[in-house]
């Protein structure tokens, strides 16, 4: 489909004015000037048509990004024609996704998108169009793109305090220092006399050389806890608080991962659980949070029991609530505390907290912040 750009509309208007002026013209030369403008339109129409036809923009199957920031993965753009092409854009319902300045004849290049989607979510490619205004920007030719895939916009994360975890187990590189000693680790504790069974590589030779026998190194034990971040989705789809909750959940999960904990992220709306071991790429967590959908009020406990069974019995729980605290929330939290679970709750900053047992840590999250309550 060929349309006229705003610049083209301006020049077309000027041409109309000049044509009207030609009624009083003293020479026919005015039509040559008009002809130059007309020729620009025609060459532009031909160039835009050819450019849009020969440009092939291939997106990655999943285009990942963070809300408010340009998408990261580049597109593969190739020009199959024998002439240069470019000045094209990939248009999406959410704005200009990609700007293709110039692709030489027969060349293939990779171009990063320019689109920055403001909120997290999953956007199917669906109705993408490739529009070219090559070379003058007066006329635009658009064609539909048959691209399968989606854009996953992850929630933005920010620095915050990590809620307490539980069920610590020795893990090399764990963020919590235990009371016992370990033959390996990051924190050197001291030396002790060598006993039978100690490997030779643990011998601390400077101490051993002082004549008290062989001494071996000891390290502080490193522990990693377990924590599950449970995101309440009992709000209408598209509610801004769900985006804020996703940001808070992502920030909490990443803070815990940084501490070396094993993190489970639970979508309480669908009952889906994502487990992430420490020191593993966190994209899976953020992708899961990008796919959160509001399921409507009253769905908080629908998958809770089912999910609790899949979590470890000693796993700490961190609820990220999206609305006012109801009796249902209160009952669940109190029951879990009574069972010996370590529980923390993240509430929107617009919601007041109930009187919970002192073991429950309460946080409040805002647009881009999470802080302990009180």
């Amino acid at each position: 489909m060929i349309t006229v750009t705003w610049a083209g509309a301006g020049f077309a208007g000027l041409a109309v004015l000049l044509y009207m002026a030609s009624m009083q013209a003293t020479t026919g030369l005015l039509f040559l000037v008009l002809g130059v403008v007309f020729a620009c339109f025609m060459v532009n129409a031909i160039g835009a048509f050819q450019s849009a036809r020969c440009l092939m923009a291939t997106p990655p199957k999943v285009l990942r990004g963070t809300e408010g920031e340009p998408l990261r993965e580049p597109w593969r753009v190739s020009n199959s024609a024998r002439r240069n092409a470019g000045m094209a854009s990939v248009m999406s319902p959410w704005g200009v996704l990609l700007r293709i300045a110039a692709v030489p004849a027969g060349a293939t290049t990779r171009i990063r998108p320019v689109l920055a989607l403001p909120s997290r979510g999953v956007y199917a490619y669906g109705r993408l169009r490739l529009a070219s205004t090559y070379p003058f920007g007066l006329v635009r030719f658009e064609k539909r793109m048959d691209a399968g895939g989606e854009i996953v916009v992850c929630p933005e994360v920010y620095e915050c305090l990590a809620p307490p975890a539980s069920g610590h187990v020795p893990v090399l590189g764990g963020g919590v220092v235990g009371t016992r000693r370990s033959p390996s680790g990051s924190y050197f504790h001291g030396v002790r006399p060598m006993t039978a069974g100690d490997p030779v590589r643990l011998v601390h030779w400077p101490s051993s050389s002082k004549g008290q026998g062989l001494m071996v190194k000891e390290f502080d034990e490193e522990l990693a806890g377990r924590i599950a971040v449970l995101v309440d989705c009992s709000v209408e789809e598209g509610a801004p608080v769900l985006d804020r909750a996703a940001r808070a959940a992502g920030s909490v999960a990443l803070a815990c991962l940084d501490r070396g904990d094993h993190v489970d992220v639970v979508d309480l709306g669908r009952g889906e659980l994502v487990s992430v071991s420490p020191f593993v790429d966190s994209d899976v967590v953020l992708t899961a949070l990008a796919r959160l959908e509001g399921k409507g009020p009253g769905t908080f406990g629908s998958h809770l029991e089912e999910v609790s069974g899949r979590l470890g019995p000693r796993t700490a729980l961190c609820f990220v609530l999206t609305g006012a605290v109801t009796e249902a929330h209160d009952a669940v939290v109190c029951r879990l505390v009574e069972r010996g679970r370590r529980v923390s709750v993240c509430l929107p900053d617009s919601v007041g907290a109930l009187e919970w047992p002192p073991e429950v840590r309460v946080f409040q999250y805002g647009e881009r912040s999470l802080a302990p309550c009180g």
Binding site: F31, V37, F38, A39, C40, G137
Partner: protein
């Protein structure tokens, strides 16, 4: 500092604005204003930046007020309104140049420049406009390309923004097609410098007066084949010395709107000096039909020529269909009496006539005898002495025997009347300056001519030219360069400057006719039909093959790598002159590090070349025009140092 900034920032848009300003200057009808506007352009792009920014709404209001004031002031200062408004736009352009204008403002400024070029097209229509047109054809697309590229975050050098050959050819084709085919309503004829003349063609002939060279002023141009005597006016009253036109000669006897065009020939006349012709439209033969861009309908006068009821007010173009040869008509008794009326002539004249025509000859033979005697015994001479008015005819025939065409026409007509043969003197032009390239005739004031017409029973009005060099006037030989110049001028003015609705209709008719003829030729014969089918089939096959086996074009990865090797190899050769040799084991980046370690003075340039080489060679990323320019500039600096 200023130079660097200016040269860096200058782009096609600046030059387009300059072109608009120059056109605006030319619209003021003088080079001085063009130079002043050019100087202002130079000053504006070198002015310190940024100037005080005015909010856009305020600026829009100010501009509107400025335009309105200019429009109102125009009649008071005596200039046309669009020139005044365009002068106000000059101020706008200078403001845009003096600041770092954004893309939207540059678009608007480009539109203003196009407007100024259009204004210039109304004032400049000689060779300067050809240059302006070439400039517009190059700079408008380049400006639009630059602005569109900047929207995509790319900066294009002015030279790279200019249209390439293929694109330029397309632009030229579409411009020409628009010019020829787009319907237009009206084009007033330009005020040609050739037509600026006062006075007019003479309306009477005094035999006694002398005649000098009429000058070289171009009166009109006529296209057609076998153009003969072009009549403007006939004189029917003779008082013994002077020939005059009676009011009956201006009387309408018909309108030139006949559809009978058998054996008719077509002529096209471009009147340049309308004030010379006044009401007369020079024609030859018997006019059948006439068309033109005049606003009043012409009439056919009694002498067979075409005339306007009122004098022409501007240069015009008309074309007509005519049947060459004598004007066939009958004479009423009144006309016969009028055309044979002649004052009593002297005995000497009567004897001279008798000695020429003798006895017993018919009217036609008598006329031919008289013409023959004039041509053989008399001499054509401009500036011949003045004759006494009461004995002018006798003195001319018996004593002087020399003079200009008016004397011969007067004498012959008078002598024919003495023989009772209806006759009159006709004023007009005898074209002799044919352009060898264009096939048209330039008719100037010196081609004005007078001859006689005599009426014979079976033939009508027959042209008789007694002037010794009359019909045998040789075609003028002009210098080749002058002929070529006149032909180019003719084509420029008649085919381009004055190309109007009438020419469009004719062209459309010609194209339709040609296409019909071609279709008839192709489809009418079996061989033609087969040829057409074969051609279409061959084109389709070629197209399919081209799509299936595309040619390896420029820009493939292999070619990019070759290009990268090329400029990096040149870089290494230049450095070798300064004893910086890259070992085979070194990577480009290691070699660059080595250069830094050796404190090579042009380290920045070396880094540019190396980085771009790695990009093109290993990342297979294409180079933009700007990057290519950067590499070229860096290599130049390295070369200068190595020399």
């Amino acid at each position: 500092m200023t130079d660097e900034r200016t040269s860096r920032d200058r782009c096609s848009w600046h030059y387009l604005v300059l072109l608009g300003l120059l056109c605006q200057g030319f619209a003021c009808q003088q080079w001085l204003m063009a130079l002043v506007f050019g100087g202002l352009w130079w000053w504006a792009i070198r002015a310190s930046r940024p100037v005080t920014r005015v909010p856009e709404p305020v600026e829009a209001v100010l501009l509107t007020v400025c335009l309105w004031v200019a429009y109102q002031l125009a009649p008071r200062v005596g200039i046309v309104w669009f020139a005044s408004v365009s002068n106000a736009l000059v101020l706008y352009q200078l403001l845009r140049l003096a600041e770092r204008a954004g893309r939207r403002k540059r678009y608007f400024s480009a539109a203003v420049a196009v407007t100024q070029i259009a204004v210039g097209a109304q004032a400049v229509f000689d060779y300067r406009f050809a240059l302006i047109l070439i400039g517009a054809l190059a700079l408008l697309p380049a400006t639009l390309r630059e602005l569109e590229a900047s929207r995509h975050g790319v900066v294009i050098r002015p030279r790279a923004a200019l249209p390439r050959w293929r694109e330029a050819a397309l632009l030229f084709f579409f411009m020409g097609a628009f010019f020829v085919l787009f319907p237009r309503t009206h084009v007033s004829t330009y005020r040609s410098r050739l037509g600026m003349v006062h006075g007019g063609q003479q309306r009477e002939i005094d035999m006694g007066e002398s005649a000098d060279d009429e000058g070289d002023l171009m009166v009109f141009r006529i296209e057609g084949e076998d153009i003969g005597y072009l009549r403007c006016l006939a004189l029917d009253v003779f008082d013994g010395s002077t020939w005059r036109a009676s009011p009956k000669m201006y009387r309408e006897v018909g309108r030139p709107h006949s559809n009978e065009r058998d054996r008719a020939v077509h002529r096209q006349v471009k009147v340049l000096a309308h004030k010379v012709l006044r009401t007369a439209l020079p024609v030859d033969g018997a006019v059948l039909d006439m068309r033109g861009d005049y606003t009043q309908w012409p009439i056919l006068a009694e002498h067979g020529g075409a005339m306007m009821p009122l004098p022409l007010r501007r240069p015009s173009t008309y074309y007509y269909w005519t049947r060459p040869g004598p004007l066939v008509c009958s004479l009423s008794p009144d006309q016969r009496r009028r055309y044979t009326a002649v004052p009593e002539v002297s005995a000497g004249v009567r004897q001279w006539t008798m000695s020429t025509v003798g006895e017993g000859l018919g009217p036609r033979e008598q006329a031919e005898r008289l013409v023959q005697r004039f041509r053989t015994e008399f001499t054509y001479q401009l500036g011949a002495p003045v004759l006494r008015s009461d004995t002018a005819l006798e003195e001319f025939l018996l004593v002087r025997k020399e003079g200009h065409c008016g004397r011969y026409a007067s004498a012959l007509s008078a002598l024919l009347r003495t023989r009772n043969i209806p006759a009159r003197v006709v004023l007009g032009y005898l074209p002799s300056e044919e352009n060898a390239f264009g096939g048209f005739y330039n008719v100037r004031t010196r081609h004005a001519h007078a001859w006689s017409e005599a009426w014979f029973e079976d033939e009508g009005w027959v042209t008789l030219d007694a002037t010794p060099v009359g019909e045998s006037i040789p075609r003028e030989r002009r210098r080749l360069s002058l002929t070529l110049y006149e032909w180019v001028e003719f084509v420029w003015y008649s085919k381009i400057v004055e190309f109007g609705f009438a020419e469009q209709i004719r062209l459309a008719g010609g194209i339709t006719h040609t296409m019909q003829a071609a279709l008839t030729t192709v489809l009418g014969t079996r061989a033609g039909l087969v040829l057409a089918v074969v051609l279409v089939g061959a084109l389709t096959v070629v197209r399919k093959l081209r799509d299936r086996y595309p040619r390896k074009g420029a820009g493939t990865s292999r070619q990019r790598a070759a290009f990268a090797r090329n400029f990096y190899g040149r870089f290494l050769r230049l450095l070798r002159r300064e004893h910086h040799v890259k070992r085979a084991s070194q990577t480009p980046l290691e070699f660059l590090s080595g250069l830094r370690g050796a404190e090579y003075p042009r380290g920045e340039d070396a880094e540019v070349v190396t980085r771009q080489f790695c990009r093109v060679r290993y990342a297979e990323s294409p180079l933009s025009d700007v990057e290519e320019a950067e590499i070229g500039a860096a290599l130049d600096r390295i070369r200068r140092r190595s020399e």
